[in-house]
Symmetry: C2
Subunit: 258 residues, 2 copies
């Protein structure tokens, strides 16, 4: 099995490296990932600047690891599928991200966007993220082991081409993972704040605060199950049409004046 691996934390991120080692147990792994951190870049793509590409080799044995792209996660996916890979991959994995991508974070996430981009091209894609906790050392090898187990269990069901999954792993230091739950995406809002400052020249600027908290997640969603210590698996799709509203709007009258 040929596996294409990407992420949004960059090709040198420990989460990607740990997940690569695990995925090498189940297939051949080629990496096409951003050269630098691209957290929270969503589904952005690079139109205005060129995409530089560099071959990267494994530190340990100097084997070919893949390509670093000076672009976004979605750029990496496009370049991998259209230009860099000599044969189409059987599976695409994105991660292992430092920080969960549950709830509306799914829409901010470069990790998930790379998987969605792969699904545009009718590839099966799985985004994997590990919840980040301040002051805890992330156990990447253990988390990557869990991610690989989830990937194998998804593949055992031979999902249709273009299937898309979002996997989140809870903090491992919080007393062990309780199991795996299939959950829908939570859609309730997060509370966040800005830190307003003035620069030495008198101009106002804002820092996005690290506090980004979902106070009232809907029950039985990825956010709640993750908080309870479960690994969550959410099947995704990218049709944003609001179907009930579409049906309602079919009855609206429209007109155009000149």
């Amino acid at each position: 099995m040929r596996i294409l691996l990407t992420n949004d934390d960059g090709i040198y991120a420990p989460g990607l490296r740990a997940l690569r080692r695990e995925l090498m147990k189940i297939g051949e792994v080629i990496v096409v990932a951003p050269a630098t951190e691209q957290s929270a870049t969503g589904h952005s793509v690079t139109l205005l600047t060129p995409l530089l590409v560099t071959e990267v080799f494994d530190d340990a044995d100097q084997s070919f690891l893949g390509w670093a792209v000076e672009g976004r996660p979605a750029d990496c996916m496009k370049l991998a599928l259209l230009e860099l890979l000599t044969e189409p991959p059987d599976l695409i994995v994105s991660g292992l991200n430092a920080g969960s991508n549950a709830g509306i974070n799914v829409l901010y996430s470069g990790t998930v966007a790379a998987a969605i981009e792969a699904a545009f091209y009718r590839h099966t894609a799985i985004a994997c993220s590990l919840e980040y906790t301040k002051n805890a050392r992330l156990d990447w090898p253990k988390a990557a082991d869990y991610a690989r187990q989830v990937v194998e269990q998804i593949l055992a069901h031979s999902p249709a081409k273009g299937s898309l999954f979002n996997v989140n792993i809870p903090p491992l230091e919080r007393g062990g993972v309780k199991g795996i739950r299939v959950m829908p995406q939570n859609v309730s809002v997060y509370e966040e704040k800005f830190d307003r400052r003035t620069n030495p020249r008198g101009r106002t600027y804002f820092w996005t605060s690290p506090e980004f908290v979902c106070h009232e997640p809907h029950p039985d969603t990825d956010v709640t199950a993750l908080a309870e210590g479960f690994i969550t698996v959410t099947p995704l799709q990218f049709d944003l049409t609001n179907r009930p509203m579409l049906a309602e709007m079919g009855n609206w009258q429209w007109g155009l004046g000149e």
Copy 2:
């Protein structure tokens, strides 16, 4: 009515200025928009750098126009709602974008992302885009007039809080607009290419090609209706859960080895 206007082409873009003039016919308009072009930045947000903010005034009469933010469209929306506006807006409009945002372009679009961000906060938001055609001079005043008419017709139905709409206007020079159609988002893939080059130092780089064509759009979607010369209105939502797959996966067996 208080209207918050943003875009992804930047606060100095002609599409935003034309739409502002039209929206001033139906309410008070405050602009919070990116300082520079942010096309195809999707739902990215700025975590690693500070967001500088500058007050901007109307060239013509020096009246207060709003704030330019050195960040992404979604940053603008967050800052507007959490920090900059003294009162909550009644409506959020994003656009008028130079280039259509139909089909999977909805996911790349900063224009649409700003509207989705507003819907996170349970505001009613409408993204508006004008299809771009090479070598044609875009008739911003006419397109903005159409966009304002569509906005007014949506508001006439008093949509629930958090309602989200995506409006696309066909090229006006192609023989006139045929009417308004409510359509779902097309989800079929676009064909695109990269232009591979070598820089003077021998490094490989790629340019994203301007060719980005949907050869087989699904019938009766935003992409097909727009191509036929209709203004399209698509109600959107941001729950990416694949519900049929979620139901199927409820029967899957899961387990974790240590």
